[in-house]
């Protein structure tokens, strides 16, 4: 893999030529690409010692620990679908890493074109354990413990260890034949055979049909997985503290401010289910919406699928704790800031967010300004004043420390942001105790 200017290209070495040629000539790649399962690529050059391909560009890569439940689930089903099809055509996925899937044009897509190999008759799936540690385990754990468990993948880049998954599941999970065999039994077998240093134990044969059965039963099981949180969601905006008219006024204001900026790329940080980003969706080629609430992201993802929107990318992000760079040298998976800097959105929106950053996160205005300035050109930020009911509630909860937060006001806010930005526009949102600002970065 290398970068040719801004374009990502991949080099295929002679050792992989037979596979690559077979996958191309049999129409395997064509079917997967035609079905939108695999990222399309073009072959740039082919010589005796290397073939160079260029995959279609993906504007922004999200990582598994940034997915909502439904996204995670679809990525898992996506991988199984590809492996089952590969198997039927005499190939296999040689790895089942969750990082081989990302979200693009409103759907999951497999991005590792060179992950396929020939199937050898009678061999078990060598990526099986990886599928369990990257996909199946985290999903099952999320069912019992919520989507917070996906964050464990930040500290376990090659998936959650099977033993750990097994230990975190309730005893009753052993009653399910799928969970018992794929997790509890697997964990037992793994520790039993972990000292086979010389690879002496013979690996049992597994027929193609048997492997296909494993895939299908995992697929059926995952398809039916659900989390409790999800059903409670959906009435978020009935919980907001402002009236329908104010809601409309805010939408209009945002629309009018975004239009003259003519953004190609826009990010709405803390954008909930994408309600406000959707007001500009038709005029912006690529829109990212993040939220700390996995359910809101889930709800957004469902809307994207329903409306068949291809230019919206939702993912889970806690602004107070953005995803770090992980893996070897801290560079295997880039940090959120690095990815955002590369993405370079033309407009950044942060609506109803600053009071959470400042009051819940105890982050001074100057520091949050520094954060936004790292990747933003134009920043549309909403400032709920002290009279806003949410701010009031956040302040009251500080109890005896309430006086420590006297700095939370318009003047100090502007002062902090003026260190990194130039104030362009400022307007009160009608019917609310909130002010909308448009800032431009200084450099």
């Amino acid at each position: 893999m290398f970068h040719d200017g801004k374009t990502l290209r991949r080099v295929i070495n002679p050792i992989y030529f037979p596979q690559y040629k077979s996958l191309t000539e049999s129409g395997f790649f064509k079917t997967l690409i035609g079905n939108g399962l695999l990222i399309p690529h073009v072959e740039n050059s082919a010589s005796e010692d290397k073939i160079v391909i260029t995959p279609e560009e993906i504007p922004f890569i999200t990582n598994p620990y940034e997915w909502s439940f439904e996204q995670f689930k679809h990525a898992a089903l996506h991988t199984l679908k590809i492996q089952k099809y590969a198997l039927s055509k005499g190939y296999i996925l040689k790895d089942a890493s969750a990082y081989n899937v990302t979200f693009h044009k409103g759907k999951p897509v497999f991005i590792d074109t060179l992950s396929f190999d020939f199937y050898e008759e009678g061999t078990p799936w060598r990526a099986y354990k990886q599928f369990i540690t990257h996909f199946f385990g985290p999903l099952v754990l999320a069912k019992y413990h919520g989507t917070e468990v996906f964050k464990m993948l930040q500290t376990h880049i090659d998936g959650i260890p099977v033993k750990l998954i097994a230990s975190m599941l309730p005893g009753k999970s052993k009653l399910s034949s799928t969970l018992f065999t794929n997790i509890h039994l697997l964990a037992k077998m793994e520790s039993k055979h972990s000292e086979d240093y010389k690879a002496e134990t013979k690996v049992a044969k597994l027929s193609k049909k048997a492997q296909s059965n494993i895939l299908e039963s995992l697929f059926d099981f995952i398809k039916k997985l659900e989390i409790k949180e999800a059903s409670e969601w959906g009435d978020y905006y009935s919980k907001t503290n402002y009236e329908t008219e104010a809601f409309q006024a805010k939408k209009e204001l945002i629309k009018n401010w975004v239009a003259p900026l003519q953004p190609q790329k826009l990010i709405d940080v803390g954008g909930n289910d994408g309600t406000f980003a959707r007001t500009v969706l038709d005029n912006v080629p690529h829109v990212i919406v993040t939220d700390i609430d996995s359910n809101a992201v889930d709800f957004n993802y469902k809307q994207i699928r329903q409306n068949k929107e291809t230019n919206m990318l939702p993912f889970v992000c806690d602004v107070l704790q953005p995803a770090p760079g992980i893996g070897f040298n801290n560079t295997e998976r880039n940090s959120l800031i690095e990815r955002l800097q590369e993405y370079a959105p033309d407009v950044t929106m942060a609506l109803a967010l600053i009071h959470h950053i400042t009051l819940s996160g105890n982050v001074p205005f100057e520091k949050s300004a520094e954060f936004f300035a790292k990747f933003s050109k134009n920043l549309i930020i909403e400032f709920p004043t002290r009279e806003d009911s949410w701010v009031e509630s956040l302040l009251v909860r500080k109890r005896e420390f309430i006086n420590h937060f006297d700095f939370y006001n318009e003047v100090n806010f502007e002062e902090g942001y003026n260190k990194y930005f130039k104030l362009e526009k400022k307007e009160a949102v009608t019917g609310t105790k909130r002010i909308l600002y448009l800032f431009k970065t200084l450099n």
């Binding site: 099809y85 039993k192 494993i214």
Partner: protein, 69 residues
Amino acid sequence: MNYFLYFDPGLGAMIVQAIVAVAAGVLLFSKNVMYKVKAFFGLLKKDDETYDSIDIEEQDTDTHDPAQK
């Protein structure tokens, strides 16, 4: 050893698949029986969600596969 095997598949994981497959086979068999029973009584629901089925639609690409000719 295979060249492209850059991670440890785990010996236990390779062996356990034989047992996993048996359990999976039983489940799928009962699912198929249920499917047939439901079909007989006309109780099947139609669902066109992308992730409803593991199978991929092949369109016209089958012609490239010599094994199927």
